[in-house]
């Protein structure tokens, strides 16, 4: 293997058979190249899908209520289940250790908001400070609703960026007064939401203020929580599913709702949604691996084929070499060493070319579903070596058979 004379002989053979060397190299290099690009784009799609669904916190549990559809304990169906501050507090008390963020909202689906001569219809949400994190709202200017606002029932508003653009144009909205249903609120912040215009067409105010201004007493419309993530994704799903079910049971008991009433109390667990997305990503990865492994197999078959042709083409030469005193193993060694050398060289070339192209083209790709295509260098390198080793094995059989051919057979004139 490390015999210098042998290597000299091999280099000479390769140099003097440039076309053969080139074609072998090309097929290996293009196989690896395609593989790298494939793996790169699969990673890109994974990144894209992830970022598409990362806009809302993925471990969120929200509770909504509606009208009962079943009679229960003497109560008639058709009754609206009204969540109260106390409902929120009892849930909070029971599961506080598991929660990361908590919020109760009092919401008006649409209300007129006016600034000077501009006005529009927006969703108005009384909320708690934590909601900033539950909704993934980014504060662009100013601040979000604070504990102090809440305690003092301050008339402050945090408006979405869309609202800001509608009502204030280029003007700085901070500390300006807007009218919500004719009541003056001071703008203290502007938020961005990855959910876009729809999410940015709302205004947050303290929930206590909302309850007071809209005469809602201690009614709330819904509540939402985020659950601390367990390390293991499946564990996280199990835990958060259990909590969601616990909350549903608790609320139903509290408000005397039949346990099997589907529409009166709805607890939505987004972690389950996230799991669907994770399994979608896993499927995409599996598909690409499948295609990738197929490419490798095709590559191995290709290398094996090339070896077969090379050996066939060199049968006479092998006969001559044997007549001159070559040992069978030295023939096998020669053919394999040549093949392995060419495959490694070409494989690394294809690898570098593929990685280079991804590096170059990756940042140019601007699609929601493909982001930052990239390949783990180690994975790519491993595939090159798998191809080389497998190629050597595929080449061993024809090389061995050729070395076994009797010289007279190989030398026979035809």
């Amino acid at each position: 293997m490390f015999d210098l004379e042998r290597w000299q002989e091999i280099f000479e053979t390769l140099r003097k058979n440039k076309l053969r060397t080139f074609l072998t190299g090309l097929s290996v290099a293009s196989g690896i190249f395609i593989l790298v690009i494939l793996l790169g784009f699969s990673k890109g799609i994974e990144n894209g899908v992830k970022s598409q669904f990362e806009q809302d916190a993925t471990n969120r549990i929200s509770v909504w209520t509606g009208v009962t559809t079943k009679g229960y304990k003497g109560l008639n169906p058709g009754r609206y289940v009204q969540l109260k501050n106390s409902s929120f507090e009892s849930v909070e008390r029971k599961y506080d250790d598991y929660f990361e963020y908590r919020s109760k909202d009092y919401m008006i689906w649409g209300g007129t908001v006016t600034y000077k001569n501009e006005s529009g219809n927006y969703r108005i949400r009384g909320t708690l400070p934590d909601n900033q994190f539950i909704e993934n709202a980014d504060i662009g200017y100013g601040r979000f609703v604070s504990q102090l606002d809440l305690a003092d029932k301050k008339k402050v508003a945090v408006i979405g960026n869309k609202m800001k653009k509608d009502l204030f144009k280029e003007e700085d909205p901070i500390d300006k007064n807007i009218q919500i249903f004719g009541v003056n609120f001071k703008v203290v912040g502007v938020f961005y939401d990855p959910g876009g215009d729809r999410e940015e067409s709302q205004v947050y105010i303290p929930v206590t203020t909302a309850q007071q201004v809209f005469n809602a007493g201690d009614n709330i419309r819904n509540m939402s929580f985020t659950v601390n993530m367990a390390d293991n994704f499946d564990e996280a799903v199990a835990q958060s599913t259990a909590i969601a079910q616990g909350i549903e049971t608790q609320i139903k008991e509290l408000h005397t709702v039949a346990p099997d009433d589907q529409s009166a109390v709805r607890v939505n667990n987004t972690l389950e949604e996230a799991q669907k997305i994770y399994s979608l990503i896993a499927t995409i990865q599996a598909v690409f691996w499948f295609v990738g492994i197929g490419t490798i197999i095709a590559g191995i078959v290709g290398v094996g084929n090339i070896m077969l042709i090379i050996v066939k083409e060199r049968t006479k030469e092998i006969g001559i070499r044997k007549a001159l005193g070559a040992l069978p193993m030295s023939i096998v060694g020669m053919i394999l060493q040549e093949a392995v050398f060419v495959t490694i060289f070409a494989g690394l070339f294809g690898l570098i070319f593929g990685l280079g192209l991804l590096e170059l083209v990756g940042p140019q790709i601007d699609s929601d579903f493909i982001k930052y295509p990239q390949v783990d260098f180690n994975i790519a390198l491993t595939t090159v070596f798998i191809l080389v080793i497998a190629g050597a094995f595929a080449g061993f059989i024809p090389a061995y058979r050729a070395a076994k051919i009797k010289p007279i057979v190989a030398l026979r004139d035809e």
Binding site: E12, K16, I408
Partner: protein
């Protein structure tokens, strides 16, 4: 140098079997130049291939330079071929992508000789066959006679005990044939044992002894007055 006793060889093709050599007996001493004659298909090549250990006899005895040749495995056959024998073929059998010089140094590579010495030696033998200036040419750039000279240089390079030539002039015109025979005679003059297979009488007359093969047996084996090839050129 070569002792052969009751050598048999058959080829089997499916259910047919062809008995090619039916008990060959003959000896060759050191320094002889022997031609093996016979019509096409008489088994000349078969005999030469067995002598060259490219093929094996079914039965019989073969002693080469005091070494009994039997139960050859690939490894030993390769070693003997490399040490004892030089081959010259009708179709030259040069490696087409290697220069004349590299072709000649090939057997030396398998002897395990270092590159520098290989090149020196190969060059020496190319000079001997008169092709020093053509050392860097590929076989495709050489004439038939030149190719056969390269092949002869290659056969000589490993300094074998016996040269085996199977129709060395079969692919050459008369003039070139005689030039090649002149070269072979010169090598024999220096003491090398040489066996030449041919079916041409004029070529056979240029050796010192003619062995006539027919239907798998030797029908005639007699010394001849050697005709020097040079007188014809």
């Amino acid at each position: 140098m070569i002792q052969i006793k009751d050598l048999h060889k058959s080829y089997h093709m499916g259910s047919n079997s062809l008995h090619v050599l039916k008990g060959i007996n003959f000896n060759v001493s050191e320094g002889e130049l022997v031609s093996i004659m016979g019509s096409s298909g008489s088994g000349k090549s078969t005999l030469l291939n067995i002598l060259g250990m490219l093929d094996e006899a079914d039965s019989g005895q073969y002693i080469l330079d005091g070494v009994p040749i039997k139960n050859l495995n690939e490894k030993i056959a390769a070693k003997y071929r490399n040490e004892f024998l030089g081959f010259i073929f009708q179709s030259f059998n040069l490696i087409n992508y290697k220069s004349a010089l590299d072709n000649v140094s090939m057997p030396l590579y398998y002897k395990g000789i270092k590159r520098k010495e290989r090149t020196d030696k190969a060059m020496h033998y190319l000079e001997k066959v008169g092709l020093a200036e053509w050392s860097h040419h590929l076989p495709s750039e050489l004439s038939g006679g030149q190719k056969q000279r390269v092949a002869i240089a290659r056969a000589l390079a490993s300094e074998p005990k016996v040269l085996l030539a199977d129709e060395p002039t079969g692919a050459l015109d008369t003039k070139t044939s005689y030039e090649v025979m002149d070269l072979i005679q010169g090598i024999n003059d220096e003491g090398k044992t040489i066996l030449v297979v041919t079916h041409e009488h004029d070529i056979a007359q240029m050796t010192k002894r003619i062995v006539n093969l027919k239907d798998g047996v030797i029908i005639d084996d007699s010394k001849v007055e050697q005709v020097r090839a040079l007188t014809h050129v």
